[in-house]
């Protein structure tokens, strides 16, 4: 009775590959982002000088590419050494915050009475993230995992709220109802119907969250809670050298620009991604 080739009908069970169309802008932004990430991660390997090595007098604009900073160390080398914490902490912290918030948010959306989860989140949401960070530093010292923890605690109320809003229409959608009607088990529905449709909106949100995390790490550095000397990060560099801005402005401008070069492409890419999701 059938005029189909057997393979045709077998292929139906599989998902069609989606050919992604990338605009030139998206490609450019991704390239910029990858370049900055590369510098941050592998900078220490290509730095001309060590992170503690004094190359000249303080704030000497003539030496090296960006001159020297407040202790006479090479600004370019310090930038190449100072990228890891400001990239790795936000990535790890945002990933964990999205994961935890995602679980809580899906749970809140799936449960009829989700007041408990959401009201607790509302309480946490009003505490400024920098305050959380400062309290934790006071107790545990300015360590990387403390900074990551601060970012996670500050982000979870928002990732949860977002995940709940994104999961709610999916959980109450016609296709989840259809799956329930044929008697599929809840874990199957979660894996086959809910999660695949939730991943993209959550990734879009994680991109924006990541920027908030970068700012928090940079702000902590600026406030003096950066890594212990001689190691450094871009936020600490800005605050260390702001006093000598008249002598060697590059010592503050260069680290500020790298922070921007990291946050702007992430911001724009996340925006584009979010718009695609909304479509």
């Amino acid at each position: 009775m059938t005029s189909l080739a057997g393979q045709d009908i077998l292929a139906i069970g599989e998902q069609r590959a989606r050919t992604a169309r990338l605009s030139p802008m998206t490609v450019a932004l991704s390239a910029l982002l990858l370049a900055v990430l590369f510098i941050a991660l592998f900078g220490p390997l290509i730095a001309p000088h060590g992170r503690g090595e004094v190359t000249s007098l303080p704030f000497d604009p003539e030496v090296g590419v960006f001159g020297t900073e407040h202790l006479g160390r090479d600004v370019l080398s310090r930038i190449l050494h100072g990228g890891r914490p400001i990239v790795i902490i936000p990535i790890v912290a945002t990933a964990l915050a999205t994961l935890i918030g995602g679980v809580l948010g899906v749970a809140a959306a799936a449960l009829r009475r989700d007041d408990v989860i959401m009201r607790v989140m509302d309480v946490f949401a009003v505490i400024p993230s920098i305050l959380v960070a400062l309290v934790l530093f006071h107790r545990f010292g300015a360590q990387h995992w403390v900074l990551a923890l601060a970012v996670i605690i500050a982000s979870i109320p928002f990732t949860t709220r977002y995940a709940r809003a994104a999961a709610f229409p999916i959980i109450h959608s016609g296709y989840v109802e259809q799956a329930r009607m044929i008697g599929e088990a809840a874990p199957t529905i979660l894996v086959r119907d809910v999660l695949p449709n939730l991943v993209r909106p959550l990734l879009a949100d994680a991109g924006l969250r990541f920027i908030g995390a970068i700012y928090l790490v940079a702000a902590a550095g600026f406030l003096g809670f950066g890594p212990p000397p001689p190691s450094t990060d871009w936020g600490s560099m800005i605050s260390e050298n702001i006093g000598g801005a008249g002598l060697n402005p590059w010592a503050t401008i260069a680290p500020s620009v790298v922070v921007l070069l990291l946050t702007i492409p992430v911001n724009l890419l996340a925006d584009r991604f979010a718009r695609q999701v909304a479509r």
Binding site: M1, I9, Q15, G174, Y175, M181, D193
Partner: protein, 538 residues
């Protein structure tokens, strides 16, 4: 007054949306644009406003309104024209109301110096005009009231051009009559021209002087409304007219064998309640009260009622998605649990739902064929090549091209989506198919194809159909029996033939009176015109 010349509008990949459409519209004239979905009707209506939807572009032609080239005007001049001379009512008029504005501000916003006072405008659309009503927000009104406020807004500027986009699809019969009288009033007093976009041919027959039939962006036929609708020339117009359900012409379906078999499904004193909101604003809505009916094997029962009469709630209660407060469901004589979770696999498979919105009922990230396969595997326990063979068989049964089954839901047309949804429901080999407004979103021709498909499947499998709709004319020609719902109560249940001959409940008579009939409407207009001519002659 309106001149459209060779309007050429294209969408993505240069696809023709409108390919060289020319239209003239004189003051006092009503022109109807009819055609299936995707024929470019709405695009034409919006072009008269000087608007082209994002993603489309105008390639050639012009639109002149009172001599001015609409697409040569500045944005400010266009806005002035739209504010002062044009009114547009979209498919869902209630959606045009800003939720944070009060009734009086909504109407006031559209008034000009020459307009009637707000109070009179509200009275014109049969709304209360007292202070407390005027201070209400849209969410404090019923849907019908919201639609009337939208109409008051549309007539507030005394427009000389009125564009109505599928006005009857979401409006109940009483509001439809009101809208009609408002259009007539504007025509008589202001000599307003009207463009009516619709696939409901009966409402076109009632209102339009001229008709253009659009198909894939081209005018395939144009002429006087009576001529085009009564004796169309083009094959597509003929198909449109033939597909349009007509309660006065079509014979009701005969009731199957008088040998009363034991009912497949018995519904006893079913009551369903809804809780809306929480805390202080909490309201309880009784969506169904003491509803009782039987469904025999191979029978089609139509449940008819206007929006809010509890039709969908009953459908959801039957499949177990919305547990009822009281009542009993019996399948083949033995009671089944109310909750989906408590039903066993056979009970779940026995009653399948075809939803109102098929696209939304398929996972957007998977192919529709995958959705059907899933039901085959889960409800019938089939796997491997047995399951794919069954899929091929089902696709063949609903006449869906297997190549389409590999696509994702949004890549299919409305009719194809609905076929896929029917195939998925059939995959469970159910005894009862609950069809919840499955033809509402489809145009008449596709509607007809889906109905024919269901009839054929019923002949082949003697499945029972519960056909939920608000369209009596459509149900009339294929349901054996009919149940009428009014505010959650089943006010009448009878065989279709008997029902049409002698309706008992007031709601039934109301539904029957407002049921679509192209032939009846055409005859009534003929009569009117004859009378007019007789009066003029004497």
């Amino acid at each position: 007054m309106i001149e459209v010349r060779d309007l050429d509008i294209r969408g993505r990949l240069d696809a023709h949306i409108l390919g060289g459409v020319s239209v003239d519209l004189e003051p006092g004239q009503t022109l109807a644009a009819v055609g299936g979905s995707g024929s470019g009707k709405t695009t034409l209506g919006l072009a008269l406003l000087g608007f082209i939807r994002p993603g489309m572009r105008m390639v050639g032609g012009e639109v002149r309104f009172q001599g001015q080239d609409m697409f040569g005007l500045s944005e400010a001049e266009l806005r002035r024209l739209r504010r002062e001379s044009i009114a547009y009512l979209p498919q869902n008029p209630a959606s045009t109301l800003t939720p944070t504005m009060r009734v009086e501000d909504l109407v006031e916003e559209r008034r000009l110096a020459k307009s009637e006072p707000t109070q009179e405008l509200l009275e014109l659309v049969n709304l209360p005009s007292d202070h407390s009503f005027r201070r209400r927000f849209p969410h404090q009104l019923s849907i019908g009231q919201q639609q009337r406020v939208a109409m008051a807004r549309a007539i507030a500027n005394q427009p000389s051009l009125l564009i109505l986009d599928e006005p009857t699809s979401s409006i109940d019969p009483t509001t439809q009559r009101l809208m009609l009288s408002l259009v007539e009033r504007l025509r008589d007093e202001q000599a307003a021209a009207t463009l009516l976009i619709s696939h409901d041919l009966a409402s076109v027959a009632r209102m339009a002087d001229e008709v253009i039939v659009l198909r894939s962006g081209e005018v395939v036929e144009r002429g006087a409304a009576r001529h085009v609708l009564d004796s169309p020339d083009h094959a597509y117009s003929k198909a449109l007219v033939a597909a349009s359900p007509d309660i006065a012409v079509d014979e009701p379906a005969a009731v199957p064998d008088a040998t009363e078999p034991a009912p497949v499904l018995e519904v006893r004193r079913l009551s369903v309640r809804f809780n809306l909101g929480r805390g202080r604003g909490r309201r309880t809505i009784r969506a169904a009260q003491d509803v009782a009916f039987n469904l025999a094997s191979g029978e089609t029962l139509a449940l008819i009622g206007r929006s809010g009469s509890g039709k969908s709630t009953i459908a959801r209660a039957l499949v177990g998605l919305h547990p009822p407060d009281a009542g009993e469901l019996r399948l083949d004589g033995s009671p089944i649990p109310a909750r989906l979770r408590s039903r066993d696999q056979t009970q779940r498979a026995a009653i399948q739902l075809v939803p109102q919105n098929p696209e939304e009922s398929f996972n957007p990230r998977r192919s529709v064929g995958d959705g059907i396969l899933r039901s085959i595997r889960h409800t019938r326990g089939l796997g491997g090549s047995t399951a794919t063979d069954r899929l091929a068989q089902l696709l063949d049964q609903v006449q869906l091209d297997p190549a389409l089954a590999r696509r994702r839901p949004h890549e299919l047309s409305g009719g194809e989506q609905q076929r896929a949804a029917i195939a998925r429901a059939l995959a469970a080999e159910p005894k009862i198919l609950v069809c919840d407004e499955i033809t509402t979103a489809l145009d008449t021709i596709v509607q007809r194809q889906i109905i024919d498909l269901l009839k054929r499947i019923q002949n082949e499998t003697s499945i029972s159909l519960l056909f939920i709709t608000h369209d009596l004319a459509l149900a009339h020609e294929f349901a054996h029996r009919v149940g009428v719902l009014d505010e959650g109560k089943l006010v009448e249940i009878a065989s279709m033939a008997e029902f049409v001959r002698d309706p008992q409940a007031a709601e039934s008579r109301e539904l029957l009176d407002s049921a679509v009939s192209l032939s009846r409407t055409l005859a009534a207009r003929q009569l009117e015109e004859d009378e007019y001519r007789a009066v003029a002659a004497s």
